[in-house]
Symmetry: C2
Subunit: 313 residues, 2 copies
């Protein structure tokens, strides 16, 4: 099945480029409310996976505060507060930055990048997740050296948790950009799992949803999409990932998952905003600005990123 | 017609993302030697247009040196030598940087960007083309204020030249990122026009091809794809553009044009290199490194950008 065009790049009234992909909206009971494209085929959820991985850590027995849990679910900016949070998590586990398996990186946040002395592991956007994984291992008495191996007991629990939350069998396990195991599952499973987190009556599932929503800066950072969306839309849980993935859940459990076939980041936010509006949610001016949908010519707007007409029928 | 997948993004043996597009190779006589996807539909050639626009300026009567002509065909890095070249062109035309219609920008070249005092028009990658357009107007006695308007006599000549070189009727005229008119035509027309430039026995067509090939640094800059490719492959004329466009011609007139549907830059060079190899050209190690085709996990190679098997039959 060839996925449909979801977003067109229009320059001077001419469609210059197109982004195909798949998008699903699930109802609070997990049933499919709307789908475009193949939403049953496994995809890599990339960092949209992180809240599910964090549930796995809690189910394994991790004891952690809410702010650190949010950082553990985050793709953070590497701002000073993020780096300090990661170093604090490691320190209390009796570990140092060297224990992180994620590669050294510059902060995503430009002022922090310009002020950085160089790349470091704690500044890599996934370092909060890695620090939370290490904390889990130390608390449970598991080895910390190979915590990112797919065969490590921690990753076995995470995998079982992801399978449970998505109601899917995990058949493909890859390596994420940060070096952690990456589980392939369907967009329907991803949306359904986000819906489960926000509607859980308690327990690790709900705790992750609440920690993320209470500390949106820890999950991304200054000016970032997920932070701005969660600050502007009451009760929204949202988490983006690399290669064109994004997922959200509204407080009633209605949830979205999208994957752009070609991995383009630019196509996601216009789709998220269009879906929110279709669901009757006004994202507000600050969130609407995140679409960055202007196509420029000579510094002036001459076109736009346009969600295809009739997407929601 | 839905264009085929040309490049797959593979992570841990799983196809994570795909890039569709169209690619054509034309023979020296302009006939289609190989085609994938719809290569007859008009597309915006973006900066792959620049050599054709430069031929138009020469046909209009522009007098210019070879190095400046190459800069006029370029999407330059904004390195000091590029900026000085543009300022010199303007100065000799009796104009200043303010005459440029392209928007202020930081240099593409990172060290030059970090050393820049701010954005400026002369550092914008298209400023050489704009300076050459202004030189043409001054030499021909045409107004310089509205030189980037599609109705300006210069742009009428450029349009007629593009139609001639591509053997196509130009029906769609848009605004390019730099503010100059942008003509839509087919990939076949783009490849054919590049083949014509390198095989012309003389005149403006051949002069543009020779100036670009003699001064590859002026056309792009330090470390850039087109510069490295032309330095490593004898007689190659190559010019990339935004939104996933690239075109080249070999000295015998065999030519390629490609457009990635989604506009992804990353998919182009693997396709160019695969096509060169299919045509019996070894791009050499330095050019092969341009593919940047490694997909990383935890800093290690766990996959690749892969040109689909059997593309050339």
């Amino acid at each position: 099945m060839t996925n449909p065009v979801l977003v067109e790049v229009v320059r001077s009234d001419f469609v210059e480029s197109t982004h195909r992909g798949a998008l699903v909206v699930t109802a609070p009971d997990g049933s499919v409310r709307f789908a475009a494209g193949d939403v049953e085929r496994p995809v890599y959820p990339r960092s949209s996976n992180k809240p599910l991985q964090a549930v796995g850590m809690l189910r394994a027995g991790l004891t952690i505060g809410d702010e650190e849990l949010a950082l553990g679910c985050g793709s953070h900016n590497g701002e000073p507060g993020h780096v300090e949070g990661v170093l604090s998590m490691l320190s209390r586990a009796g570990l140092t930055e060297d224990a992180l398996a994620c590669p050294p990186a510059f902060p995503l946040h430009e002022p922090s990048m310009l002020a950085a002395a160089g790349k470091r592991r704690a500044a890599m956007n996934c370092s909060g997740k890695h620090a939370a994984m290490l904390m889990t291992c130390v608390q449970l008495g598991w080895p910390t050296e190979d915590y990112a191996a797919a065969t490590h007991p921690l990753q076995e629990v995470v995998r079982a948790t992801v399978a449970d939350l998505t109601s899917e069998t995990i058949e493909t396990v890859g390596v994420d950009g940060c070096g952690a195991p990456l589980f392939a599952f369907s967009l329907t499973g991803l949306a359904r799992s986000f819906g489960r987190l926000v509607t859980a009556m308690g327990g690790p599932d709900r705790r992750v949803a609440d920690a993320v929503r209470a500390h949106p800066w820890r999950v991304a950072g200054t000016g970032r999409e997920d932070t701005v969306l969660m600050r502007n839309i009451e009760g929204l849980l949202v988490k983006g990932g690399a290669e064109g993935v994004h997922a959200f859940a509204l407080p009633d459990g209605t949830a979205l998952a999208v994957k752009i076939d070609d991995g383009a980041a630019r196509a996601r936010i216009p789709l998220l905003l269009a879906t929110l509006r279709h669901l009757g949610i006004d994202p507000g001016d600050e969130a609407a600005d995140l679409a960055r949908d202007a196509v420029l010519g000579g510094g002036k707007r001459v076109g736009e990123l346009r969600v295809v007409g009739g997407l929601f029928g």
